[in-house]
């Protein structure tokens, strides 16, 4: 690639200077990274500290190891914490399946098929990406209340199945457009219908885009607070974020240990998905700019 041609006489001197510079850069980057991550590490450490110590000790190593924060936090709310974890899991799995089906179908149409109104509909789809949820939440709430879906998981899952996350349609359209067209043309000449091309050619080749969609849907839905706060109204339906919110509202200064412990539990799955799916995450944001 880019090679630097340096005069032979100064090569050694230069390489030493370059090495020191690199070292300084690394020290700077590591130091900055530590400052960035310190609050997270401290929260993890503090989840094993007695509450009194959380408000006193900025260090990472607990003076006394106090794992009972976890057992205390687990049972501090009306339902044991796994109840909320399970609710979140149901919503997240539903949302992932919904997005994978709904968005990939729409993406196939936009990327591969010719039809009347394609340009207009594609423009509308792109515009919906910009649409803030706050603008549509009131009529959605009224509609879901009308059909008795408030305090169920349906308002959080069904819209995904209806391909309302334009981001993922766009992501998959970009991906499918990059696939060689010969494959589906050959299949069509052999008499394959669109449904078979979609399932047997496009979908298997789109696995990376589907993985990116699944990972982002997981993280966004798991973290989502606004719509879950609005649509889930009784404690037995609460998901993790909504449950944490009632925890923080109800807790006095004395229960920060258990509160931190449950916050760590809440962040755990996101962190796990982050580690497992880094490749897809970085590619995903680099191509579409999603957060």
């Amino acid at each position: 690639m880019a090679t630097k041609t340096t005069a032979p006489a100064t090569t050694q001197e230069r390489s030493r200077a370059a090495r020191t510079r690199r070292l300084i850069v690394h020290i700077g980057l590591i130091g900055f990274g530590l400052i960035m991550l310190y609050p997270l590490l401290w929260m993890l450490a503090s989840s094993f500290k007695p509450t009194e110590e959380i408000f006193r000790a900025p260090g990472l190593i607990p003076e006394t190891f106090h794992p009972s924060n976890y057992t205390e936090g687990w049972t501090a709310l009306q339902f044991p914490f796994h109840h909320y974890l399970l609710n979140s899991a149901i919503v997240v799995v539903g949302a992932i399946i919904g997005n994978l089906i709904g968005c990939s179908m729409a993406a196939y149409a936009f990327a591969r098929l010719e039809f009347r109104g394609k340009r207009l509909f594609f423009a509308i789809m792109l515009a919906t990406i910009m649409l803030p949820i706050h603008v549509v939440i009131v009529p959605q709430y009224i509609m879901f209340a009308e059909i008795g879906w408030i305090n169920t998981f349906l308002p959080l899952i069904v819209p995904k199945l209806l391909a309302t996350d334009g981001f993922f349609i766009f992501l998959m359209v970009q991906f499918i457009r990059g696939l060689p067209k010969d494959l589906d043309e050959a299949a069509r000449i052999d008499g394959c219908g669109h449904v078979r091309i979609f399932f047997q050619i496009i979908m298997p080749l789109s696995l990376p885009a589907l993985a990116t969609t699944a990972i982002f849907t997981f993280i966004w839905t798991w973290n989502d607070f606004f719509s879950q706060l609005i649509f889930l109204t009784s404690p037995d339906m609460y998901t993790v974020p909504v449950a944490l919110r009632t925890f923080v509202d109800s807790s006095s200064q004395t229960s920060w240990g258990p509160l931190f412990a449950m916050s760590v539990i809440a962040l755990g799955p996101v962190f796990g998905f982050f580690l497992a799916g880094q490749k897809y995450l970085v590619k995903g944001i680099a191509t579409t700019g999603i957060k």
Partner: protein, 321 residues
């Protein structure tokens, strides 16, 4: 592909016969029709979503903004009453002030930090994937309730920040409970999530040909000169993209303000973000007509900013062709 092209000419002589030709045309038209139908079939879920989840509710909220809808009982048409009430609503004006301050302080800081680190990392630093991941992690977690809870402690009266300051003998404030500083803690939180734009900047920097820098070096240009005359101009589309995206995101911030202030937007409305006030009116006191009018103002603001950014981009974004 080439195999297909070779096979086609052989079929042509058959199609040349007039009867066969019309048959092919009919078949083509049939295929077109089938493709049309197939496309609408694949798009069926999306059309239903458009009707009931996105565009439909968007128009419905415009209608509700002219009514006094409150979920219970009948509603009636009130004309522009909700909008004229917005003109006089001091708390709404305050929430706009808070939100605009947040957007215009946190987004530039976030983007400058993102660009600076992307440039350092772009110089072929060893372990780039690791650094990138570490810096990106806060972007994934930043919007969650758990991190907002952490922030509430870290910037609390006896929180982590004040514990550290205590080492240096400084007595810190209760940052989240002080009206002058509470918004600042949320700005810090948004700046903390600079990783996502940084990854996008990194991808953009990769696109700039190395030879431009080398040519500039030969001409004796210093690093600052190269930055202003090569990096910045060639990166403007990416800067623009990040700017639009982060402004839109920042305008919609809700969770952090809600959790840090316990849902109140306090102390003294200093973290009363626009979306939080909208939530309080619409779902706290069920003034859904008023909330709908507020929602449309938000849409106008975000749409307006996006439009202004796009128009302005003509003058400063360099697309390189």
């Amino acid at each position: 592909m080439s195999a297909l092209l070779q096979r086609r000419p052989k079929a042509d002589p058959v199609a040349a016969a007039p009867a066969a030709r019309t048959r092919t045309r009919a078949r083509n038209q049939g295929a077109k029709q089938r493709e049309n139908l197939a496309a609408y079939g694949f798009l069926a879920p999306w059309f239903v979503g458009l009707l009931f989840i996105t565009a439909g509710p968007l128009l419905a909220s415009l209608y509700f903004s002219f009514t006094d809808y409150n979920l219970i009982g009948d509603h009636s048409w009130v004309g522009l009453e909700n909008y004229s009430r917005m003109l006089e609503d001091e708390r709404l004006h305050n929430s706009l002030r808070v939100t605009f301050t947040y957007v215009f302080v946190s987004v530039p800081l976030q983007l400058v930090l993102a660009l600076a680190l992307a440039m350092v990392l772009d110089r072929g630093v060893r372990g780039l994937p690791l650094y990138r991941s570490v810096y990106y992690l806060p972007s994934l977690l930043g919007g969650s309730v758990a991190i907002a809870i952490l922030w509430r402690q870290v910037f609390g009266a006896n929180g982590l920040i004040n514990q550290v300051l205590g080492f240096f003998g400084i007595q810190g404030e209760g940052w989240v409970s002080h009206p002058d500083y509470a918004l600042g803690t949320l700005i810090v939180l948004n700046v903390w999530t600079f990783g996502a734009p940084m990854v996008i900047f990194l991808a953009g920097l990769r696109q700039i040909p190395r030879m431009y820098y080398e040519a500039a070096s030969v001409d004796g240009a210093g690093p600052l000169h190269k930055f202003w005359h090569i990096t910045v101009p060639l990166l403007t589309p990416i800067i623009f993209f990040n700017l639009v995206l982060q402004i839109i995101n920042a305008f919609q911030t809700f969770t952090q303000a809600f959790i840090v202030s316990g849902g109140t937007g306090g102390p003294s409305d200093s973290t009363m973000f626009y979306t939080l006030y909208l939530y309080q009116r619409g779902f706290g006191s069920f003034e859904m007509g008023y909330a709908s009018a507020m929602a449309w103002l938000l849409l106008m603001i975000i749409g307006g900013f996006t439009a202004v950014n796009f128009l302005a981009s003509k003058y400063w974004v360099f697309y390189g062709d």
